[in-house]
């Protein structure tokens, strides 16, 4: 099926070479980091994790969110998601690959990465994170490829794939729960030490991931003959709405506990992020951008009249995605380190090499996604030709 990826129009190749260009620039930046050490980033003794780990955390959520289309389709027999499942699974693959790369570029001694397998440590959450992430990657590759291959031959997928699909549905929340446990079990970091962190992670993931999937589905429909389905997109829009509301609610719970209890350690990170602390306020503008985007997204999503208009839904999804990207991909990690264990403040902002490397990892993710989507869409175009896919739904 891979051969489908080497036939494409002019627009396809321009996009591919654009991504390859970003990757090359980022690769050079990585060589620079590899030679000089992580000192080329904005990280410090006090803020020892930054953009890389933030992006990793955010993307684990995107990967996990594939379950939001797979579950209704396979467990509730919701046929309308039939064409979205492959897009969800392939998005998960691209997201997990990005997660792994973000961990890799964050390592001080990347050549020793296999020590994690050579010296397996069962008390470290990072060990479990490695297992669940690679397992999830494997499951999605196997399931996505097999189901798509069967569809291409217009036969039913083999029977053994169904138990694996059920397993992958149970597996998806585990990857984000384990990722939350990286943070939520650390004593002395009040911002992260909250039992609701994993739940918050899942809520934001199930809002942000499907929001991205809606945008991708709209792009696929615009540029190809394959239509993931109007109703499917609307159903996904409802999922984004509910999960975004739950996410905002969970954030509210955190704020209540911190500010009603008035325990300084619990309030400091929030004050730093949203108002600035002791004159340090570098993150305040972007955190407010995130909050305003969230408010706009919630407003647009809760009214069905607005949500049912696909262009407005797209705007709401973009707002949701970027709001969560700032909140989780940046604020969450940096906020946990400010103030430091001495209640002193060191601020963090990524450097240019760090930004270029981050951009390159995203470009690799999009390259993988483009190739996988190209294959999926080419096959779907052959199988389902009509614009709204009535043929496929009837056939099922």
């Amino acid at each position: 099926m891979l051969e489908k990826a080497i036939y494409g129009g002019r627009r396809y190749w321009v996009w591919i070479f654009f991504l390859l260009g970003l990757i090359s620039v980022g690769f050079l930046a990585y060589l620079y980091q590899f030679k000089n050490g992580l000192g080329v980033t904005g990280m410090s003794r006090d803020v020892s994790w930054g953009l890389y780990i933030g992006q990793f955390t955010f993307l684990v959520g995107v990967a996990a969110s594939g379950v939001m289309v797979v579950l209704p389709y396979y467990l509730h027999d919701y046929k309308k998601f039939g064409r979205l499942t492959i897009l969800g699974e392939f998005l998960a693959i691209a997201a997990v690959i990005m997660c792994m790369l973000f961990i890799f570029v964050d390592l001080g001694q990347p050549l020793r990465v296999l020590n994690v397998i050579l010296h397996p440590t069962f008390n470290s959450v990072m060990f479990y994170d490695m297992i669940v992430l690679s397992g999830y990657l494997f499951l999605n590759l196997l399931i996505g490829w097999t189901v798509l291959g069967a569809e291409r031959k217009e036969v039913a997928p083999p029977k053994w794939v169904k138990p694996l699909i059920i397993l992958s549905i149970a597996w998806a929340p585990s990857i984000h729960t384990v990722t939350a446990f990286l943070y939520a079990g650390i004593p002395g970091r009040h911002f992260w030490l909250t039992a609701i962190l994993a739940a918050r992670f899942l809520a934001s993931a199930f809002a942000g991931g499907p929001a991205l999937l809606i945008i991708l589905a709209l792009i696929v429909r615009k540029y190809t003959k394959f239509d993931p389905g109007k109703e499917a997109i609307q159903s996904l829009g409802k999922i984004v709405t509910y999960c975004m509301l739950i996410n905002v609610f969970f954030l509210g719970l955190e704020l209540f506990t911190a500010f009603y209890s008035q325990i300084p350690g619990h309030m400091y990170s929030f004050i730093y992020l949203y108002a600035g602390l002791h004159g340090y306020s570098q993150l305040v503008p972007i955190m407010w951008v995130s909050s305003i985007l969230a408010a706009v997204a919630v407003f647009m999503l809760v009214f069905p009249q607005i949500r049912k208009n696909e262009s407005l839904l797209a705007i709401a999804c973009i707002a949701t995605f970027f709001s969560l990207w700032i909140d989780k991909g940046f604020g969450l990690v940096v906020g946990g380190f400010v103030p430091n264990p001495f209640e002193r403040i060191t601020e963090y902002w990524p450097t240019i090499p760090e930004a270029l490397i981050t951009l390159a990892v995203w470009a690799i993710g999009f390259l993988v996604l483009t190739i996988l989507y190209k294959i999926a869409v080419s096959i779907k175009e052959e199988v389902v030709f009509d614009k709204y896919g009535e043929r496929q739904i009837k056939a099922e």
């Binding site: 000089n36 050490g37 000192g39 994690v116 010296h119 470290s124 079990g185 970091r189 350690g265």
Partner: protein
Amino acid sequence: MSVNRRDFLKIVSMSTILSIGGVASVSSLKDQVEASQISKSPAALTAKRWAMVVDMSKFTSEADYQRCIDACHRAHNVPHITDNPKHEVKWMWTETYEHAFPGNEDAYRAEKFQHMPFLMLCNHCENPPCVRVCPTQATFKRKSDGIVMMDMHRCIGCRFCMAGCPYGARSFNFKNPRPFIDESKENPEFPTRMKGVVEKCTLCYERLAKGLQPACVEVSNGALIFGDIEDPNSAVRKVLSERFTIRRKPELGTGPSVYYII
């Protein structure tokens, strides 16, 4: 040379059996070899669990702190990074009371205590979070004496331990540390580090093995009291039973082994 199928299978099965046996015998040998390599010197100082008491009343001038810090940093080739405070590496340093014991501030406390510098180092916790989170056991609690050790050759530089430590005791080599070590003061007996690994105080395990007190204790003129906290007759236990002492963030359940007398 041609090998028929039958011979090939014979060779494969024999070599499989041999290699499994080989691995088993090597791994049983490995323990013995390791044990003989690190057999203790008879002069070595030993304890069930090392602890330290910092007697703040004996630190009267800036020089008293600096002497301990310099002894530590010189003994362990700790780089002196001044061009960017974000990349600082320190095993021992000072923090004022309000920062060393956050949450215990009191606006009406006597001025001299408010800003009194306290000597900071790794607490060698009884229940260390850094060890719990490390994915490679590069940082580990030594079974024999409770020292929280650091294997800088195994560390992958993920910095999970730095997030895990509630005492800010860990430093990461954001760049090659070697140019920041004064060659004239370098200790050739202790390894220097490379970029990309985490380091911290290891309670001078290398000096204890030779029967010497930790470098900071040696030069402290009695301000640092060091000993086995599980030995009721040790110097630390004697001080702890007589004087009022405090520890940093004991409420986190880490069981810090560094005590302070104010």
